[in-house]
Every structure is written in structure tokens, then in C-alpha cells.
């Protein structure tokens, strides 16, 4: 019961924090922000890791956990790299503009 009540508080406060974190977002950042938040939602890889570590000798469960981990890491690594690519293009453009002036 103590885990549940703690977890519900964490859920509530986390949601409120998420609601407050983003105020105004310039339209150019919509896609990068979406992509970055998406990479963070790949944090479910921690759940996949827990599943594998606690699986013991259960081969189907180990395999399932490994597939889940693979999917999550695909999300995390791909998500952060692709966000960085988008933002890199962004900063290059602005620095070029700065050079011209």
C-alpha cells in the first residue's frame, strides 16, 4: 500500500510538473521538442531492463525482455540523435546568419 500511495503522489506531481514545463514554444521548435520528449518516453527501457534482470532462467521471458529493450533503445538512441540532427541544422543556420551581419 505504501508503494501505491507514494506512486500516486509521484504520478500527480510529475503530471503537474509536465503541464508547467512548456509554456510558449516557438513553432520552429515543435518538431524537435516532440522528438526530444519522444526520446525521453523511451525511458521504459528501465522497465525492460528490470524485466530481464528479474527473469531468472525463464528463456521466453528473457527473450521478450530483450526485444522490449531493443525497441526502447531504438526509440531512445534514434530519438536523441535525430533531435540533435534537427537542432544542429537549426544552429548552423542561425550562426551563418550571424556571420553575414
Amino acid at each position: 500500500m505504501s508503494f501505491l500511495s507514494e506512486a500516486l503522489w509521484v504520478l500527480l506531481l510529475g503530471s503537474l510538473l509536465g503541464l508547467e514545463l512548456i509554456g510558449k514554444v516557438p513553432p520552429t521548435l515543435h518538431t524537435p521538442l516532440m522528438s526530444g520528449a519522444n526520446a525521453i518516453s523511451g525511458i521504459t527501457m528501465l522497465a525492460a531492463l528490470t524485466l530481464i534482470i528479474k527473469a531468472g532462467n525463464n528463456i521466453p521471458l528473457l527473450a521478450m525482455g530483450a526485444v522490449a529493450l531493443g525497441f526502447a533503445l531504438f526509440n531512445v538512441i534514434g530519438g536523441f540523435l535525430v533531435t540533435d540532427r534537427m537542432l544542429a541544422m537549426f544552429s548552423r543556420k542561425s550562426s551563418r546568419r550571424r556571420d553575414n551581419h
Binding site: 506512486a7 503530471s15 516532440m34 525521453i40 525511458i43 524485466l51 530483450a66 531512445v76 538512441i77 537542432l87
Partner: protein, 294 residues
């Protein structure tokens, strides 16, 4: 509490702080790139914290290491290659693909715990009811996220076009039927957590629901839908956090879920559309909104 657990606790706190700062920084042009790296560091920290905790308490079997490395290498390499190769013009599709995989991961974790309840021994969630409910939520949301994201990607790539009956009102009846089917399966699972056929019914019902909801939506509205699906994948991660008993997962998932919802709203406002008209209007709603907006 031994040293490893205390260390994990401290690392988790730092990771949550960095993740929050990352999301915050990503919404400003000046700090966006650093914020993205900060979030990546936070994720790495969270993994280190988890590994340290298990090394210090129960230990990690050699067999588990093999599967962990296998999953990490395959998933990580594929992700890195995809991120490098994909053209800049098809970013929304790419995000949808990644997002779908995140949803799939939450779905698989919940399925694993549901099918092998004793082995997983997530345990910390305590009573069976909480675990059953969180499994249902995780499966339902994860499944919708996966199928919806894949459909969104296929539509943006032009691999898939909307069949005419999907644009008529029939689709509402179909979607409601699918939702009822999922609900029945969810209630059955809540009463008997070990009912495997109800579990598969829930997976199939919510998967088809994800397709049915996403398929009629027009190409121009797709980024909004992807943002909404991104919010769902946060919810799925939070539910997976309840399943395995991880506070960090719950707080990060809740943050992404709520922030994704706000971003969806911001994007809708930018297009001068309401979320309801994007989701339920389809072609009809577009003309109505255009008429109303003009």
C-alpha cells in the same frame, strides 16, 4: 537500505531533475541543443543507477547480461543507423516510428509480466489489483501508441491511403465497437488477471482501435496526432513504471505525457484547429472548421 540503494536513489533524483530541465530547455531556441544532450545524459544516468542498484542487492546473472547486451546492441545500432540515414524532410514520420517502438516496448514489458507473473516478480507494486490495473493500462495505451504511430508513419510516407469507408460515419461505429471490445477485455482482466485470452483480446482490440482512430486523419493534421501519440507513449511508460515498481519511470512518463499534451494543444492552436476536430472530424471536420474559421 544499503549503499547501492542509496546511490540509486540519489542518481534517480538527479536524473529526474536533469530530465525536467531538458524538457524545459528544449522549448527555447537558444538552449535546445544543450537541453537535448542533458536529457540524453539523464537517461544514461538512470540506466547506471538501475544497474548499480541490482549489482549491489540481488546481483545480475550472466545470462541476463547476455540478453541485455544483445538487446542493447541490436536496438541501439538500428536506432543510430536510422537516425543518420533518414532525410531531413521526413522528420515527422521518423518521430512516429520511434514513438511506436517506445509504445511497443511498454506493451511487451506489461505482456511479459502478465504472462509470466511468478517469474517477473515485480512484486513491489504489492497487491494483485494494482498490478492488474497497471498491466491493463500499459497494454491498452502501448498497443494504441504502436499501431497508431505505424499508421501515421505509413500515411506520411504515402504507403497507405485512407479507404473511402473510413471517411464515412461508419468508422465511428467501428471504433466504438473496438473500444467496447477493449473495455470488456480490460474488465475481464481486472477480475481474473491470469486470463490469457482476455489479454490477447485487449491487445488486438486496442491495436485495431489505434489504426481506426489514426487512419481517417488527413496528412496535414498528422504532426498533431503524432504529438498526441507521443503523449500516450509517456502514459504507457508511466503505467509500465507501476507494473515494475519504479518511481523514476512513473515521474518521467507522467512528465512526458503531460508535456506532450500541452505541446499537442500548442500545435493545434498554431494551426487554428481544435483537438476534437483533428481527432474526430476527418475530412468532414476540416471543411466544417474551415467554414467556421473563415
Amino acid at each position: 537500505m544499503n549503499i547501492a540503494e542509496i546511490l540509486k536513489f540519489a542518481i534517480d533524483l538527479v536524473a529526474v531533475l536533469l530530465l525536467a530541465l531538458g524538457i524545459k530547455g528544449l522549448s527555447k531556441v537558444r538552449s535546445a541543443r544543450e537541453a537535448n544532450r542533458l536529457a540524453a545524459v539523464a537517461m544514461a544516468l538512470a540506466v547506471v543507477g538501475l544497474i548499480v542498484n541490482y549489482l549491489g542487492t540481488t546481483g545480475i546473472a550472466a545470462e541476463a547480461w547476455i540478453w541485455i547486451i544483445f538487446g542493447t546492441v541490436v536496438g541501439g545500432c538500428l536506432g543510430a543507423i536510422t537516425a543518420q540515414r533518414v532525410p531531413m524532410t521526413s522528420m515527422p514520420e521518423t518521430v512516429a516510428l520511434f514513438n511506436g517502438c517506445g509504445g511497443m516496448s511498454s506493451l511487451l514489458v506489461a505482456l511479459g509480466v502478465a504472462i509470466f507473473p511468478t517469474a517477473a516478480g515485480a512484486g513491489e507494486a504489492g497487491s494483485g489489483v494494482v498490478e492488474d490495473i497497471s498491466i491493463v493500462v500499459s497494454v491498452f495505451v502501448g498497443s494504441i501508441t504502436f499501431s497508431g504511430s505505424i499508421v501515421a508513419m505509413a500515411k506520411l510516407q504515402g504507403w497507405l491511403s485512407t479507404p473511402p469507408w473510413m471517411q464515412s460515419r461508419v468508422r465511428h461505429a467501428v471504433n466504438i465497437a473496438l473500444a467496447v471490445m477493449s473495455l470488456v477485455a480490460a474488465i475481464e482482466l481486472g477480475r481474473h488477471g491470469d486470463n490469457v485470452s482476455a489479454l490477447w483480446l485487449l491487445v488486438i482490440g486496442s491495436g485495431l482501435l489505434g489504426i481506426g482512430v489514426t487512419l481517417p486523419i488527413g496528412g496535414a493534421d498528422m504532426p498533431v496526432v503524432i504529438s498526441l501519440l507521443n503523449s500516450y507513449s509517456g502514459v504507457a511508460a508511466a503505467a509500465a513504471g507501476f507494473v515494475v515498481g519504479s518511481q523514476l519511470l512513473i515521474v518521467a512518463g507522467a512528465m512526458v505525457g503531460a508535456a506532450g499534451l500541452i505541446l499537442t494543444q500548442v500545435m493545434c492552436n498554431g494551426m487554428n484547429r481544435s483537438l476534437v476536430s483533428v481527432l474526430f472530424g476527418g475530412a468532414l471536420g476540416a471543411s466544417a472548421a474551415a467554414g467556421g474559421g473563415g
